[in-house]
Amino acid sequence: MELMSLTATELGRRIQAKEVSAEEAVSAALDAIERKEKAVGGFVTVDREGALSRAKEVQHKILAGELKGPLAGVPVAVKDNLCTKGLKTTCASKILYNFVPGYTAEAVKRLEEAGAIVIGKTNMDEFAMGSTTETSAFGPTRNPWNTDHVPGGSSGGSCAAVAAEECSFALGSDTGGSIRQPSSFCGVTGIKPTYGTVSRYGLIAYGSSLDQIGPVAKNVTDCASVLEVIAGFDAKDSTSVAREDYRFTEALVEDVRGLRIGIPRDYFGEGLDPEVKAAVHAAAETLRDKGAVVEEFDLSLVEYAIPAYYVIACAEASSNLARFDGVKYGYRAAEYEGLHQMYKRSRSEGFGPEVKRRIMLGSFVLSSGYYDAYYLKALRTKALIKQAFDQAFASYDIILGPAAPTTAPRLGASLADPIKMYLGDIYTIAVNLAGLPGISLPCGRDKSGLPIGLQLIGDCFQEKKLLRAAYAYEQTRQYERSPLAVM
């Protein structure tokens, strides 16, 4: 489909130029979904009628000159942990199988105000807990590059939908790499902004102190344009930060001369796939050729990031997910005697095994007598990791490394060994602990043709440096469409 192969901003430009209407754009996306969903499984809910009727309204406003932004009329897919008023929001969990929110998440609201059209809700690991999108209660999403492989996770549905060209761009959320890792696996670009940049209001929380919403798209320009729309101070989110500068697209300049790029040696040790290593090193060389100053350094503490992350994220999750109890909404067990049994059965039947594992882990580390040994220690580790990054950013503008140690694993290969799966988050997790912005963008493919992702990490509130480096690198490559995109 011609229209779906365009980037979001190019499609938006053509809509503004009246070459394409919003209805045509949305219809193209809906057609693509119809043809490809069986193979991809990127969506939990497709809002065909709602999208078409909104497209009509938006087109009206575009013609009236009321909507002039780059995303007006452009179809977007939204991860299913972002509340959408009147549209089912499940977190890919049985416990929320029928939940219809009464309000829309701030980030989605901002997109809609800019004229973007939500066409559906994308699949994910249940409550964003997982790295493969296989823990979804509604079945896995497949990688558009090879459907025997996972798309990564937890924003696997969003990344696969972009890679398969079922939507022009998508929103994901990133708690420990949930945007960057699946972007890497699916050969698309995704940003995890600085904590506090995008309002979390309406994002169904997993790990509140780590969660950030971010864009997934075909290229850096799209990501910067979307971020410009969704970012902003929101009084409804107390952790939201009023930033001085939200003009991210200004950073789309092909110039990295003098930019100091540090490569942490710790990121290239054991467990890193040699093909990934080679591709990432090659990307660093490319940036050096373009004038960046590239050198290796020791970041240290990386090995402590994973245990610290799982303690903090699970602790918060155990409390965040307590509200899903069968009382007010969502799944309630069919038979029970008394309140206690209703809680127990609803939650036992409603949550999947990975979610239960993390709730138990989180409850354990918070329980009296263990709090200091686990939770407090994890918080201290988090502070030390932040310090290590602060030190690194005293010397470098950007930290460069892989987004994941391997390319996308085969379906079914990960869940059997959760520890191994957790270790796959090694390059992304520290970024969340330190609240930093990170971007993943394609930098090659392995022998089997699966995409490899390059991760760039910036200091807090330095998205513009990040975007500049990513944009400059991107100019040296051609965007590669997945086999399912071409279908």
Binding site: P101, A205, K236, V327
Partner: protein, 476 residues
């Protein structure tokens, strides 16, 4: 030999703050309202909703802390207290454990045993829960989240009290302080002030504390006093029988005057407290503290002195007037209008308190406006109406807040000082009561009283008694 026991009591007092909106959302805190009409995604714990702290809550908590000599925690945080119950929509309560807003204060109380200080361990901010309604007919439970998210402070005392009298004095002191600050109306019967009593007994002279129990569901000062006595007796009996007191939470049933064990320490819940990640730390600057301190209204002690100095009221009267904020407010406003502090004070001290008592009302249920009280005082003081009429009209001011000037005018209740009318009535009284006239003329001075009464009666109570007296003497 009989042992002597000492009772050791500490209180946890919950006070609902008088903010217009809830602690973490913009919903109204107004009482009543159809179930779940004062709710939003935040206070019903909807997925994805986030709390935003109401600054006014912090200010009220600070004000109470400053008025009770606490140190303000200038970097304070909220924590989550995790427990499952349907009145708690998120299944956690946002409260403060590690860094409560106020610490290390105390208030001075006065009892028959003299003055002493009850230390305050801490004051923390938290959210209230919703209300469960059990419909036994339908065999279902329904939840009303209107109260969910209403701001509370919990004032935790040290175990410094030794008797019910001290407990009541402490509570009265807290209530007055908080009412004067305007931070809460502190109504025990409506639940805007709730006290949990931690009580243990020990042999007099011992240093170590006995095992304590916590009693809940105490809705009045009387219930608190009864519960303390009951629990004291229960614990002493256990000890006398050589049985241990079990650390547990007990529920007081004021009708049966007995407490029931709710849960023991063994099955006490682990609340898995941890810092609330959805809220940022509350940073309180020196300037903010100074601002709140500067806004502190005149407190009871200051008023007590001022009433004596400025208005020349006796200490006893000043104590009663300042003993309830409603009295003090009414007194000051009415005095400002009519300029007669002693008269206003008398009307409050005598007639108002009598009518409150007769009607089983609390001072804060007063409906009478200062304007109408001031008018009535003026009418009575200037002799425009007689004392009898004034008392009658006052009852209406008290009950319906009528305008007494208008009322007196409409009904023609003003005292009659018209010489001719009075003279006619007096002459009639003399004609009708020859016996009394005879008695008076025979030197029975008292007999004139009867004639005055008869004249007044004939005038419908509106006659100027001084004039009637004078006219009668003239005629006789």
């Amino acid at each position: 030999m009989q042992k002597i026991y000492e009772t050791v009591i500490g209180l946890e007092v919950h006070v609902e703050l008088a903010t217009k909106t809830k602690i973490f959302c913009g919903c109204s805190t107004e009482f009543g309202g159809a179930p779940n009409s004062h709710t939003c995604p935040v206070c019903t714990g909807m997925p994805g909703s986030l709390p935003v702290l109401n600054k006014k809550v912090v200010e009220y908590a600070m004000a109470v802390g400053l008025a009770t000599g606490c140190t303000i925690t200038q970097y304070c945080k909220f924590d989550r207290k995790n427990y499952f119950y349907p009145d708690n929509p998120q299944n956690y309560q946002i409260s403060q454990l590690y860094l409560p807003i106020c610490r290390d204060g105390g208030v001075e109380i006065e009892t028959s045993a003299g003055k002493k200080t009850v230390r305050i361990h801490e004051i923390h901010m938290e959210e209230d829960a919703g209300k469960l309604v059990h419909d036994e007919w339908e065999d279902v439970s329904i939840v009303d989240y209107n109260r969910s998210g209403v701001p509370l402070i919990e004032i935790v005392s040290e175990p410094d009290m030794r008797s019910a009298e001290e407990v009541i004095a402490y509570l009265e002191k807290l209530r007055l302080t908080i009412q004067y600050l305007g931070a809460s109306d502190c109504k025990l019967n409506e639940g805007s002030m709730r006290a949990d009593v931690n009580l243990s007994v020990r042999e007099a002279g011992t240093e170590v504390f006995g095992t304590r129990t916590e009693m809940k569901n105490l809705n009045s000062f009387k219930a608190i006093a009864r519960a303390i006595e009951g629990e004291r007796q229960r614990q002493i009996e256990l000890l006398e029988e050589g049985k241990p007191v079990i650390q547990e939470t007990r529920r007081w049933d004021d009708n049966k005057e007995y407490s029931y064990a709710m849960r023991s320490k063994e099955d006490a819940q682990d609340y898995r407290y941890f810092p609330e990640p959805d809220l940022v730390p509350v940073v309180i600057s020196d300037e903010w503290i100074a601002e709140v301190k500067a806004r502190e209204p005149e407190m009871r002690e200051e008023k007590l002195l001022r009433y004596q100095e400025e208005f020349g009221l006796p200490e006893y009267d000043a104590k009663i007037l300042t003993g309830d904020k409603s009295f003090a407010d009414l007194f000051e406003a009415a005095t400002a209008l009519c300029g007669k502090p002693k008269k206003v004070s008398n009307w409050i001290m005598v007639e108002t308190i009598r009518l409150l008592k007769d009607n089983g009302m609390a001072p804060d249920q007063l409906r009478m406006s200062p304007v109408n009280l001031a008018k009535l005082v003026t009418l009575a003081d200037s002799g425009t109406v007689t004392n009898t009429v004034a008392k009658e009209v006052f009852e209406l001011v008290f009950k319906e807040d009528i305008d007494p000037e208008q009322y007196v005018k409409d009904r023609g209740l003003a005292t009659v000082s018209d010489d001719d009318a009075l003279r006619a009535a007096a002459e009639q009284a003399i004609r009708d009561n020859p016996k009394s006239v005879q008695d008076y003329r025979n030197g029975k001075e008292k007999a004139i009283g009867f004639l005055v009464g008869q004249t007044m009666k004939a005038m419908g109570g509106k006659a100027n008694p001084g004039m009637v007296n004078q006219i009668l003497r003239e005629l006789l």
